[in-house]
């Protein structure tokens, strides 16, 4: 209990200052909406389904993007990590593509793919792919040679050693790559939704800002923050579940 209070005390102080400042009109409502109005808006939005819908859409995009990025990232990480030749062919391309700010390519993605879900997923995958791929690759480079040798002595073939030794050894690396990819994906999703979308929390926040509904805007921001936190916890739990030896 005390630990919980200690953990959250900066938030509690911030919220108190906010509520006191706005309730006593020390801070104008053109700067910050009253905190209780934000929660009222949140409550209403979740109740009538509007916020819930936008949240669900955004969550679907991020999770979908992360799943695709994971599959592609692990595949390319294994490919480049296991084959010296493909490492030489593909790595410059993969690393070079990272140098581009993906946000600058958003208009291009819209021209090519429109405003639908494909575009959102592509945009998210374009940032989430790299940390997962490079961690898979680095993990392979760091597989303990003595584990491979022990397995060879037992009579395993190189192909079997991939499953027996290498895949389990890189799992913690994949998880930490995924953990880095989560906030990048959330950020990129918000940007994509702000630039062009018919739904999602990013779209809700930018429209609320333009129409001066600050309480609604903050409700969206609070939900985005919670989403980031929740996804991080989820990846952590996934790590505990898939790598129980790695505490």
């Amino acid at each position: 209990m005390l630990d919980g209070v200690l953990y959250f005390y900066p938030l509690i102080i911030l919220a108190s200052l906010w509520e006191i400042g706005t309730a006593f009109e020390l801070i104008g409502e053109d700067v910050l909406p009253r905190l209780d109005f934000v929660f009222a808006s949140l409550w209403r939005g979740l109740g009538d389904g509007e916020l819930l819908w936008h949240t669900a859409v955004s969550l679907f995009r991020v999770v979908g993007g992360l799943v695709i990025a994971c599959l592609l990232g692990v595949a390319f990480g294994l490919w480049t990590g296991l084959s010296k030749r493909w490492d030489a062919y593909l790595m410059p391309l993969l690393v070079g593509s990272q140098a581009f700010p993906r946000s600058a390519l958003l208009p291009l993605f819209i021209v090519w793919l429109g405003l639908g879900e494909t575009q959102k997923l592509v945009v998210i995958v374009s940032v989430a792919f790299f940390p997962i791929m490079i961690n898979t690759y680095e993990g392979l480079k760091r597989v303990n040679e003595s584990h491979v040798w022990a397995a060879l002595s037992m009579g395993y073939s190189n192909r079997e050693i991939l499953r027996l030794v290498k895949i389990p050894a890189i799992l913690p690396y994949i998880i930490s790559g995924l953990r880095i990819a989560v906030p990048m994906s959330v950020t990129m999703m918000v940007v994509a939704e702000m630039v062009g979308a018919y739904s999602g929390l990013g779209q809700l926040v930018i429209i609320a800002g333009q129409t001066y509904e600050l309480a609604k805007m903050f409700a969206g921001i609070v939900l985005l923050g919670l989403m980031g936190l929740l996804l991080d916890r989820a990846v952590e739990a996934l790590g505990r579940w898939t790598t129980p030896w790695n505490r």
Partner: protein, 255 residues
């Protein structure tokens, strides 16, 4: 007495390419190991003793020379030789019993037969209670015992031990030395054991191969004909220790 596990190391050389030229790790190393014999390779750090062990394991290719196991040349790793490393010898992502199970699978031993063997070997190394734990939940000494059990269980004729007690604290190391003698006497397997610890050499070995500083050459082969379990108060024990130390001290340099 064991009938298999006879090793012949014949003029083995090993050099590694580095940025400029090559480093010669081993140069013209020759010695024999009888079936069932306990041989210790000792030498200053960097003398190539671990490399030599890895060559016997077949993990590292020789630059020159030959290693034969029971008259056939070694051409790579095989389950006739089992190896235990200094640290993280077990697969950390598997429980103790799964580690042993993994060692049996390539032999086609599964099911009830495997469970029975796992039971026997874990009890033999005193880990019957810890079978469902992950390696990191075990002490260093327990991990090494489990690693040795995992190697013994697939019945190699030669046991390669690469500084197996090197990461343990002094008291655990003492107990493990006595325990190793017991296991070796019971299993009747050839052991090639790498260490830089003089007491380990005299306490364990029937034959000590002393290597010189890099490039590793055989400096002397010392037989230790003392009865097991060895008594450190025996003056001959101290004599052997002294003899080995004299051989090695010329080779040890401050880096």
């Amino acid at each position: 007495m064991a009938t298999q596990g006879r090793l012949a190391v014949e003029s083995v050389s090993k050099s590694y390419p580095v940025r400029e030229g090559a480093v010669v790790a081993l140069s013209d190393v020759t010695f024999d190991v009888a079936a069932g014999q306990f041989v210790v390779l000792i030498g200053p750090s960097g003398c190539g003793k671990s490399t030599l062990l890895h060559c016997i394991g077949g993990f590292v290719e020789l630059t020159d020379g030959n290693i034969r196991l029971d008259d056939s040349a070694i051409r790579g790793p095989g389950s006739d030789r089992g190896i235990v490393f200094q640290r993280e010898a077990l697969f950390p992502w598997m429980t103790v019993e799964d580690n042993l199970r993994a060692a049996l699978r390539p032999k086609g031993i599964t099911g009830a037969e495997a469970e029975e063997l796992i039971d026997t070997y874990l009890k033999a190394v005193g880990l019957g209670e810890s079978r469902r734990l992950y390696p990191r939940e075990l002490s260093g000494g327990m991990q090494q015992r489990a690693a040795i059990a995992r190697t013994l269980i697939y019945q190699p004729s030669v046991l390669l031990l690469d500084e197996p007690l090197g990461a343990l604290d002094a008291q655990t190391r003492e107990l493990m030395k006595e325990w190793l003698v017991g296991i070796w006497l019971r299993e009747q397997k050839t052991v090639v054991y790498v260490t830089h610890d003089l007491d380990e050499a005299v306490f364990l070995a029937q034959k000590v191969v002393v290597l010189s500083a890099r490039p590793g050459r055989v400096k002397r082969i010392v037989d230790v004909n003392l009865r097991y379990p060895r008594d450190r108060r025996d003056p001959r024990y101290e004599e052997k220790r002294e003899q080995l130390w004299k051989l090695i001290r010329d080779e040890v340099r401050f880096d």
